[in-house]
Amino acid sequence: MNLTSSEAITGSISYPVTIDIKGLNHYFGHGDLKKQVLYEIDLSIASGEIVLLTGPSGSGKTTLLTLLGGLRSAHEGSLKILGQEMRGATKNQLLKTRCNIGYIFQAHNLLSFLSARQNVRLSLELHDHYTDADCDRLVDEMLTAVGLGDRLDYYPDQLSGGQKQRVAIARALVSSPKIILADEPTAALDRKSGRDVVEIIQKLAKERHCTILLVTHDNRILDIADRLLYMEDGRLVKDKTE
């Protein structure tokens, strides 16, 4: 059963729609090997919502996430991110949209040859409107906010898994993106670190009115969601608004 829901979250101010998907279909492969992986996805996410996406492996969650991140081109249907129609967009338009999105991966993917500070700064250097002093200040503030104020110049190989993920979060959030896409951010972490990580994400997101779409298998963190979406076999099955 597909749900089309574009209601704002109950109990909060109505924000504009950040992500708007209508009739999205996606395929992999060509010719005889062509396989459909997403079926008629309809979804609207408002600014500031925290949406969790769960489902079995192979359900298409990651594919949907990559489409939402502008990392893949949309084939059929309409996919609007921050007002930009992604289907048929030029490479430059995709690039520009990506600058407004923060990514948190399961593997932190920090650059091993940069310190925590330098890794986070990399995210800010994409935007021309920051000054040098701004960059340094924002980076230090962000790292302090995630609890790594005393590890600013540490390199990834000197940090624990949880700490590395926190640097990745700082990197994703420092430029105050409108959307955060997270793919299994707690999968490689223990219970405490995982909990810390999602709480940081939640707190910072609420402070900055960031929309969050988080793909996860982790049952321990489902309570932070404003909305819980369930995917199976390429379809959005359940939408539990809490």
Partner: protein, 385 residues
């Protein structure tokens, strides 16, 4: 606009062992190129040192002249004909032949280049020759090049022990060795000896006095050699050729560069060094990209363009070029010194060669970077999820 983090530099600085390997590889390739080009240059320089030591502004030679070891003569009167042109101060004749120098200690003979000069007239501008020219006007007197190969015997020490002059044998004739000078061995000559023109004709009776090998022309001060060259070229018949000293040296150089396999062999050696360098740097850059593929893909996800990453890679390649070149320069100079002590061949670092190898290093590293770039395109942000 914020100051950008220097990714190219940090990629290298933070991976010390990879950096060391890369520098070693580039230095090795550079040293190969330096040695090949250095040997080639040293050999050419040695071959033309006699030409450059001639005390003349212009020279006359037989148009068929290619190299000192197979000299073609021309008529002496051509040299005297030039005196009619205003601006010419003095002329003198040079005979060149190959003699057999006998080493009295080992009882063996070896070929030696013999120069027959007119005493009292311009010949060589080597300082240690000029002072001894009056001595060779005495018949059967010879000056010996002490910078020739050691197989001729410790000639300089013979002279020292004897004090004044020593009897030596050349081409089965006894001569008086009255002094030594310094010129140097080369392709054409393992050694040199200078005698007067009369002594030369005594040593080589088959030679005709009216056929000389090189005509030396000295111009009056302030005269333009190129102007006189043009006048002479027009006036003289086609059985002689008028050249500046540099052009004369180039004729010899060209013979060895193109007439023999030397230019090709050393050129090929340098090219191989270049290719080795490309392969080594490519390996380094390729493995760098592979190892950081997901990190680069993350950067692409964040919004960095492919072009940006390409620039980082090229930056890395160029930094490597500079850091790898510097030790090779120092090591090459050391190797040149070593070569000189072993072979007596004068090889020195020259600015144009250093610049050439540096430019080749930059090209080599950029080319590797360009090929390694292909790997970068595989960094697909969609795949890291």
């Amino acid at each position: 606009m914020p100051k950008k983090t220097p990714l190219s530099w940090l990629l290298l600085a933070r991976q010390k062992s990879r950096l060391v390997v890369a520098i070693a590889g580039i230095a090795f390739a550079d040293i190969l190129m330096f040695m090949q080009l250095g040997f080639q240059s040293g050999l050419y320089d040695a071959a033309i040192k006699p030409h450059r030591s001639l005390d003349a502004d212009l020279v006359l030679i037989n148009p068929k002249f290619q190299t000192l070891i197979s000299v073609k003569s021309f008529r002496r009167e051509r040299l005297h004909q030039t005196l009619s042109v205003p601006g010419i101060d003095r002329v003198s004749a040079l005979y060149i032949g190959t003699g057999q120098w006998r080493n009295s200690e080992t009882r063996t003979s070896r070929a030696i280049l013999v120069w027959g000069v007119e005493p009292g007239k311009p010949s060589f501008k080597l300082p240690d020759v000029e002072g001894q020219l009056n001595q060779i006007s005495l018949l059967k007197t010879v000056l010996f090049d002490q910078a020739g190969r050691p197989e001729y015997g410790p000639v300089a020490s013979w002279l020292e022990q004897a004090g004044k002059s020593v009897e030596v044998e050349m081409s089965d004739r006894l001569l008086n060795l009255s002094g030594v000078f310094t010129l140097g061995a080369s392709f054409a000559a393992d050694g040199n000896a200078i005698v007067s023109d009369s002594t030369f004709l005594h040593l080589f009776p088959e030679r005709d006095a009216s056929n000389i090998d090189v005509g030396l022309i000295q111009l009056k001060p302030g005269t333009d050699p190129l102007k006189i060259q043009a006048i002479l070229a027009a006036e003289l018949p086609k059985d002689v050729r008028v050249l500046t000293v540099e052009e004369f040296a180039n004729v010899e150089k060209q013979y060895w560069a193109e007439g023999t396999g030397i230019g090709f062999i050393f050129g090929l050696g340098a090219v191989m060094g270049f290719i080795v360098g490309i392969v080594i740097v490519y390996q380094i850059l390729y493995s760098d990209v592979s190892d950081h593929l997901s990190e680069f893909a993350t950067m692409k996800a964040m919004g960095y363009s492919n072009l940006f990453l390409v620039r980082v890679l090229i930056g890395e390649a160029l930094i490597l070029a500079v850091i790898g070149f510097l030790p090779s320069l120092v090591l090459a100079m050391g190797l040149y010194q070593l070569t000189y002590s072993a072979t007596l061949l004068p090889i020195f670092m020259k600015l144009d060669r250093a610049v050439t190898v540096f430019v080749l290093t930059m090209v080599m590293c950029s080319a590797s970077g360009a090929i390694a770039m292909q790997k970068l395109y595989e960094a697909d942000p969609a795949d890291i999820f």
